[in-house]
């Protein structure tokens, strides 16, 4: 293995200041993509940007120049409706050209509003139907174990996604198998498409639920990049269990007039709102 094909994260993590700047740039791009493509789910994308930045700049052993490297860490965006945030992250991380993001949602583009299989470099799995990603990740983790690989598997889910029964099938299987190279993150923004996630189904107590299912659970501020990086770099954590980060987040995070307003699950920003968002993010 030459250095070109080696995972390139082994060295240092960018400073917090730099990570925060990356987050702001990605947030601005995600708002712009939603505006240009008329793409929904903006609030959901914004709530998980810091989680994506912490994973891709702070923890994952990956090489954007060799996205299929067998020993790479895997990252599955199980909440596929945040595709714009994933695409922007991958582009800024170097998996493909940033200009390609301008094609998002446009006719003929492979950057669809939910990630397709094997289309964009760095996208590990096609998602969009909720409740699949955790099981896909379990399969990848078992494959790694059988093949003697030491890679880790990260899965980013939504809180609404925990409505799906298959999530809990996967939760039990992963802990039953002691898959301690798995890290799942719940983007716990307390909203799902049409209501408060706690009111639609009894989600609380979320941490205790996952603990009861045999996971090593940490609650974290999902916008605290330093805390996220520290937890994501500690996989496995010595417990012998799969790890769950219950990441408390704010839907629409970073744009004052979108924060915790569930209208932005579907609403599209107009040109004026895009401008205001970019000013708030310090990009204009």
């Amino acid at each position: 293995m030459n250095s070109e094909s080696a995972p390139d994260i082994a060295g240092g993590v960018p400073s917090l200041t730099k990570l925060e700047a990356i987050s702001r740039r990605i947030r601005g791009k995600v708002v712009e993509m939603s505006h240009k493509a008329n793409g929904a789910h903006l609030g959901s994308g914004l709530s998980c940007v810091d989680i994506l930045v912490a994973a891709y700049w702070g923890a994952l052993a990956i090489n954007p120049r060799d996205p299929k490297l067998p020993q790479r860490d895997r990252f599955i965006l199980s909440k596929g409706h945040a595709a714009a945030a994933l695409y922007a992250t991958l582009a800024y991380r170097g998996f493909f050209k940033i200009e390609l993001l301008d094609t998002y949602g446009k006719p003929g583009s492979y950057l669809e509003e939910h990630p397709g299989p094997g289309y964009a470099p760095g996208v590990e799995a096609a998602t969009g139907s909720l409740g699949h990603g955790l099981s896909l990740g379990v399969g990848m983790a078992i494959a790694g174990r059988l093949q003697g690989q030491s890679y880790r598997v990260f899965i980013l889910m939504s809180d609404g996604e925990c409505n799906e029964g298959s999530v809990w099938e996967a939760a039990m299987f992963a802990s039953g198998q002691g898959l301690d190279r798995m890290l799942a993150i719940i983007d716990y923004n307390k909203w799902q498409a049409t209501g408060r996630s706690e009111e639609v189904m009894a989600l609380k107590p979320l941490r205790q639920k996952w603990e009861a299912f045999g996971w090593s659970v940490y609650e974290v501020d999902g916008h605290n990049l330093g805390a996220l990086v520290d937890l994501m770099r500690n996989v496995p954590d010595g417990s012998g269990k799969p790890i769950m980060l219950v990441a408390h987040t704010v839907k629409g995070k970073g744009i004052s007039f979108m924060e915790d307003d569930n209208n932005w699950h579907y609403r599209i920003p107009d040109a004026e709102e895009l401008k205001r968002a970019k000013i708030e993010l310090g990009l204009l």
Partner: protein
């Protein structure tokens, strides 16, 4: 069929380290040898088929060759969306194996019947649907599926079915096997109906029509070359399956036929009715109720044959 499947899978696993067997909490004794020899590559996935199927996709995405096995309705209709998205959309080489297909487990009630699975799975893009007719076809289907870099569904019966072939026939995915040559009537069988169809051909022969029997083990892709030949060479072509008339072998042939110019032969579809069996009874009883006996098949086909000449 299932014993042949387990034995062949164990043999194949000794030469292919990519093979992983996922079981939905069944096959307790059946896979003992596999477990003894390849313990880590056997995963009892519990009664959680959705997770099992998606996991299989995750494994295939990492280079393994997972085979997901449980009772047919639970590994088809129960987790159809997982098959569609995680296996077919990703187009990964996962083999889905359903055991107890059709009315094999008739006595267990309609929850355990599967007369819709062929139709549902053949609708899915990238999926190949194979319904072996005896233990030889099971063995050969499994070997062929492992060489096929795409999703495959193998629809098994149960155990103890009659063995049709004296030795391994030539088996190619998508190509029917002419089990008995004949004329006038051509019986196209898929899956576990093959021994019954051969008996139906015996009946027809005694009544003066030496019917041809084809094992159309692959329902998708259809053997269009063979269909073109039999529809131009026979008077009656009958599809026979332990599956609904909607969407199965007969349904797919009817779709094919609709796109062809007028043919010499008429199509007769023989299968199960559009309904649930609502009374107790084993497979033999269920087949009697639904007209899937050699006598009923012979009578129906002969009636159409005589009406047409």
């Amino acid at each position: 069929m299932r014993n042949a499947f387990a034995a062949e899978l164990t043999a194949l696993a000794s030469t292919d380290e990519r093979i992983v067997l996922l079981s939905g909490d069944i096959g307790n004794r059946l896979f003992d040898e596999f477990k003894d020899r390849f313990g880590k590559r056997f995963l009892n996935c519990g009664v959680a088929e959705a997770n099992m199927v998606s996991m299989a996709s995750g494994m295939a995405l990492c280079g393994l060759r997972p085979i997901a096995y449980t009772i047919t309705p639970f590994i088809t209709t129960r987790c159809l969306e997982q098959i569609r998205v995680d296996i077919c959309y990703h187009n990964v080489p996962v083999i889905i194996v359903g055991v107890g297909s059709g009315l094999s487990y008739a006595s267990l009630g309609a929850t355990h019947h599967s007369c819709e699975d062929i139709g549902l799975l053949r609708m899915l893009p990238n999926m190949t649907v194979i319904c072996p007719g005896d233990k030889w076809e099971v063995i050969l289907a499994l070997r062929a599926a492992l060489q096929y870099e795409r999703p495959v569904y193998i629809r098994l019966g149960k155990k103890g079915e009659p063995v049709v072939y004296e030795q391994a026939p030539d088996f190619v995915i998508g190509k029917g096997i002419v089990v008995r040559a004949g004329q006038g009537i051509c019986l196209l069988s898929t899956g576990n109906m093959l021994p019954v169809v051969l008996q139906a051909a015996d009946e027809l022969s005694q009544k003066g029509v030496p019917a041809q029997v084809v094992s159309l083990h692959t329902v998708k892709p259809l053997d269009e070359e063979l269909l073109a030949a039999v529809f131009s060479g026979f008077n009656v072509v009958a599809s026979v399956e332990e599956h609904s008339l909607l969407g199965g072998l007969g349904g797919s042939i009817a779709e094919w036929l609709a796109d062809q110019p007028p043919q010499k032969a008429r199509l007769l579809r023989i299968g199960t009715a559009d309904g649930f069996l609502r009374c107790s009874g084993g497979q033999k009883y269920a087949r009697q109720q639904l007209g899937l006996t050699p006598e009923a098949i012979a009578e129906k086909t002969l009636k159409m044959y005589r009406a047409g000449i």
